[in-house]
Amino acid sequence: MIRALFSGKLLLVAAVVLAVLAAAPLMLSRFYVYLMALILVTGLLATSLNLVLGFGGMYQFHHAVFYGFGAYALTLMLTKTGMPAAAAYLLAPCCSAVLGLVIGLITVRLTKLYFGMLQISLGSLVWALAYRWYSFTGGDDGIHGIPIPDLLYASTSAYYFSLIVVAASLLLMYLIVNSPFGRIFQGIRDNPERCRAVGVDVVRHQLAGQAIAGFFAGVAGTLFVTVEGSVFPELMFWTLSLELIIMCLLGGWFVFLGPMLGAAIIVTLRTFVGIYTEYWTLVLGVVLMLLIFFLPEGVLGFALGKARPAAAEAVGEK
């Protein structure tokens, strides 16, 4: 299975990257370890968005809801129930998958922009619940001091946990993108009408895509809780969803690891520019403009295109 998808060279690169990431906490300060964990988590989230956005062609405008929902689900299970932490960690992403399915049941009847707008509305309802329901979700204060299992409490252990989970999730998503399901999903992106004509039940595949993307967003949500130790309604506010879309576009949304790179760029920018000015979005705006004019395929898409001119030509052909 693995051998069919990864060349020896690619495996080697992956091993080196993992080794560097694993060694990083030995050399870096706590702040940088925290930052890297945040990048990993955000990157996983953006990649899960890209499953449906870049590979499925669905206008997933409010992906953050599934992230926040997973984070809240884990938090509430940890704080309000006596459930074993391991079970809560497994169950929380499933909650996000179910939410993806439920919202999807309503939204996949529509296409393109209408799908996206309806998703924003329904997602905002979920956000409003978290924002106002003080007795249950802590309202706009959120919930802090979440009892993270001791094993994951230290910042380095949270980092390693994130690294392992993110790597495993990326591997799974990569398998899915290259599976028959992924192939059909890309077919639906390119041409839903033709897919129906060759016997594909488009709606069922889109629903499954929503559930899968929701699941991995939920995984990212649980990691965020682990790294941060708190949740707040901003996790499912629509502006975060917009930022995630920007990450996908910035990194390259037809390349599997594009969103990961996009997330790294945006999170780093926000952190360091944010030190000097609260108007860091100004910088983001400029970056976006440059991106649209000079790198429409995203940074990674552009880099890969340089490496393989024929592929770039193909990607340029809409």
Binding site: L172, F181, Q186, R194, A197, A314
Partner: protein, 247 residues
């Protein structure tokens, strides 16, 4: 095999198909001809489920399929190609056909097995039989128009249909490409035993391959007969072919 009766479809007052009838028997090659706007493409959309008819009956092997969802009709054994090239433009030629093969085999919810190891020989076989074998790895958006039209047919073959519906298979092709496509269609009938229903403006092609011809005008069937009889049918000559007989 296919029986269409009293089929009607209108769009906001405009009647595109108005009581059309059509019969296709197993092993036949049936052509639908008629001037632009006669309702040929709409008729094909109705048969393959892309559009629901307002009224009338479409029976495929004794099953009523009027208004049934397109993916279900496809699974019954009816596949089609499109007049305007309608393919998966970002996928490779191989992937385009493989999507159809995977869909037919019902493997589309397999999440973890690499797709590139599945349905490979069948997909290559189809590409080879239509003459696209050496272009399998090209991104199909970059193919010539003629090759894209052939790919249209290849995708339809991936569904392994019993009835193949081709909407103007040679539109926009060069004379050589048209001749090749004609040979391909003849082979599909002879070697694979396919039944073909197609529409086409190239009369030379229609008369050289069709067993029977159905003539449409303003959404109605005005003739349905053997080529010779259609050629000499005064109503057809008047309505569609003008003063001179076709060919």
């Amino acid at each position: 095999m296919l029986r269409v009766e009293a089929l009607r479809k209108s769009f906001e007052g405009f009647v595109a198909v108005n009581g059309a009838r059509l019969a296709v028997d197993e092993g036949e090659v049936v052509a639908v001809i008629g001037p632009n706007g006669a309702g040929k493409t709409t008729l094909f959309h109705l048969i393959t489920g892309q559009l629901p008819p307002d009224s009338g009956s479409i029976r495929f092997r004794e099953t009523e399929i009027a208004g049934v969802a397109p993916h279900k009709i496809c699974r019954m054994g009816v596949a089609r190609s499109y007049q305007v090239v309608n393919i998966f433009s970002r996928l490779s030629v191989f992937d385009n056909v493989q999507v159809a093969v995977l869909a037919r085999r019902g493997k589309t919810f397999n999440l973890l097995r690499p797709a590139r190891t599945m349905a490979v020989s069948e997909t290559r076989q189809i590409l080879k039989s239509v003459g696209l074998g050496d272009k399998a790895d090209r991104v199909c958006g970059l193919l010539s128009h003629g090759d894209q039209k052939v790919l249209e047919i290849a995708i339809a073959l991936g569904s392994r249909p019993e009835l193949l519906i081709l909407d103007e298979p040679t539109a926009g092709m060069s004379p050589e490409e048209t001749a090749q496509t004609l040979r391909l269609m003849k082979r599909l009938v002879a070697e694979f035993g396919l039944t073909i229903l197609f529409c086409e403006h190239d009369m030379g092609m229609v008369f050289s391959i069709a067993n029977r011809i159905m003539v449409m005008q303003q959404g109605q069937t005005i003739a349905e007969d053997a080529p010779e009889a259609v050629r000499s049918n005064p109503r057809v000559q008047e309505a569609y072919l003008g003063e001179t007989a076709p060919c």
